[in-house]
Symmetry: C2
Subunit: 153 residues, 2 copies
């Protein structure tokens, strides 16, 4: 058990932030939802120091949010996959996306989260804007949005 | 403009975290949703250092998430209220609550978010579990949950 980040707080938000509130952690989880699995690919996507990435991945595995699986024997190579507990963070990520799209993406959403096969966007209530179906992590795919062209600095 | 926390990320999640990802900031917003308005009350609720609280509140005001209003003339006293931009963070907080209730609250949810007048809990799709109505921040109230008794350390 690591030191409590928010001593004195008997609160599900505080406890969740103790697991995912560290710098870069939510973006690692975002990339896992986008299909990133290998250390090198996380590193390329995030441009984060390798020791920081390693610490964050290990913590997420320890907390049962990611699972570390060997995908090659010789040499041994590993990938990181979201567990059910990790996939259950999908509403957190979608709610961050939707707010950011609305308030801090002047060039438009960099990425659209759409109902696979239907094409409707996910709304604030995690349903499809087009067909109304309640959506989960496995029902959607990410597509470049109007703000995708804004060069990543 | 403060330094970018996540250089190279053209992403609504990263941009949102640049505003609310600092330690304590989400808990300040949580308390604002729970009705806390005054510096002293935030300080009592959070037990955070006054200079940290002051920095966080100022940042949230600068970003248009909180509004600082004078509520008394002599001596001048101020309170902090969520703006519409701040209230729009409600889905982020609810999704953190729901995940935390499920995965990191062994004594049960410390706090229940229920549909005012109906009593049904808000679900992952931000609707009422009992009557099915889609809910927003103004439709709910917080009640002590089964985990409320666990003493705050």
């Amino acid at each position: 058990m690591l030191k409590r980040e928010y001593e004195g707080q008997n609160c599900s938000i505080a406890r969740t932030l103790e697991l995912i509130g560290e710098r870069w952690t939510v973006l690692i989880i975002r990339d896992a939802f986008l299909g990133v699995r290998r250390f090198e690919d996380f590193q390329n996507e995030l441009g984060v120091a390798r020791n920081v990435l390693s610490t964050r991945l290990t913590r997420l595995v320890d907390e049962g949010i990611l699972e570390k699986r060997r995908y090659q024997e010789r040499p041994a190579r590993y990938e990181y996959r979201l567990t059910e507990k990790g996939i259950a963070l999908w509403p957190v990520l979608i709610s961050l996306v939707k707010w950011g799209d609305r308030y801090v993406s002047p060039a438009g959403p960099p990425r659209l989260i759409v109902h696979r096969g239907c094409g409707g966007e996910v709304n604030d209530h995690l349903s499809c804007e087009r067909c109304g179906k309640p959506l989960g992590a496995r029902d959607v795919e990410a597509r470049p949005g109007p703000g995708a062209k804004a060069a990543a600095a």
